[in-house]
């Protein structure tokens, strides 16, 4: 288990560094997924299978998919055609994948040598479930309220952005129509004469997007 810890710790640190320093958000996201998987391996090596499984399912699964959706909405993708300009970088995937595979094999092979009798019993799923539904029952219920609040909040945010075109004509949608007139004018959307007049009344809203000096884009 020691080798598994050291290997996955090295993978975690390197891939996290690459994720933070990478200019391309998509590449950063992929490195972050590798980092999360490596941390999950560390959890398994510590002897916390519940946290490891949760890490893979929730972080590497759900949260990263959210990031992928956001990147898809924000950045129009470039087609991958022509010769690959970053071939040596991309070949790094092979040693990384081999390293993780080696860890899995090590953990599978090393299991009989380490009978898990130590403190492992305390970190089992059964003990966690019992704690969650006895001592931590109130926080556990609060998490459902928190998730519901996040769901409602995200729906409200998304609806204000998408429903502005329909709401621009009605008096009740005046504020959000004015707020979104800039986005629709810049995006080339047809938002009707009312919204266009409102946008003209606030010329600073219709200013075309500046060409950024930002190297990150």
């Amino acid at each position: 288990m020691e080798i598994a810890f050291y290997l996955s710790a090295a993978v975690a640190v390197i891939s996290t560094l690459l994720a933070v320093t990478n200019v391309n958000p998509v590449h950063a996201l992929l490195y972050l997924i590798v980092s999360l998987l490596a941390v999950a391996m560390v959890f398994f090596a510590i002897g916390a299978p519940f946290a490891g499984a949760l890490e893979i399912i929730v972080y590497a699964g759900a949260i990263m998919v959210l990031f992928v959706f956001a990147i898809m909405m924000l950045i129009p993708g470039k087609e991958e055609t022509g010769p690959d300009p970053r071939r040596p970088v991309r070949l790094l995937a092979i040693p990384f994948g081999a390293l993780l595979l080696l860890e899995v094999l090590l953990m599978v092979v090393a299991r009989p040598a380490h009978p898990g009798g130590r403190v492992r019993a305390a970190g089992g799923v059964q003990a966690i479930g019992r704690l969650l539904f006895t001592d931590y029952l109130f926080p556990f219920e609060l998490t459902s309220v928190l998730l519901l609040a996040a769901l409602v909040g995200v729906l409200a945010l998304a609806k204000r952005g998408a429903g502005a075109g329909a709401a621009a004509g009605s008096p009740s949608g005046r504020i959000q129509g004015a707020l979104d007139a800039a986005g629709q004018a810049a995006g080339g959307g047809s938002s009707g004469p009312a919204a266009a007049g409102r946008a003209a009344a606030r010329p600073e809203l219709t200013e075309p997007p500046r060409q950024g000096r930002d190297p990150a884009r």
Partner: protein, 100 residues
């Protein structure tokens, strides 16, 4: 067996990388990823301490941290998408005003 301080050290290194990412980067998406890295480092410390003292409460706390992280990411990404619709440009340098 690996000493317990190594887990804490790895957690500290990951947390430092995440903190530097939050400070240095300008793309809000990457800043969010760095926040995830920091939360993840905290999770690692919780699991390591829980295993060290032989109780399961560390992993229970990890469960709560992950729930909060999921909610935070959902709301944060929705805000980023809304800002992008408004500005057509993503850089935290532009976002210095609370309202305009």
């Amino acid at each position: 067996m690996v000493p317990g301080s190594y887990y804490t050290g790895l957690s500290a290194v990951l947390f430092a990388i995440g903190a530097v990412g939050v400070i240095v980067r300008r793309d809000p998406l990457v800043i969010f990823m760095s926040i995830e890295v920091m939360l993840n480092a905290a999770n690692l410390a919780l699991v390591a301490f829980g295993a060290q003292f032989g109780n399961a409460e560390g992993q229970v706390l990890v469960f709560f941290v992950m729930t909060v992280a999921a909610a935070e990411v959902a709301v944060g990404l929705a805000i980023i998408v809304a800002i992008f619709r408004l500005r057509r440009r993503l850089s935290v340098d532009d976002l210095s005003a609370m309202r305009w």
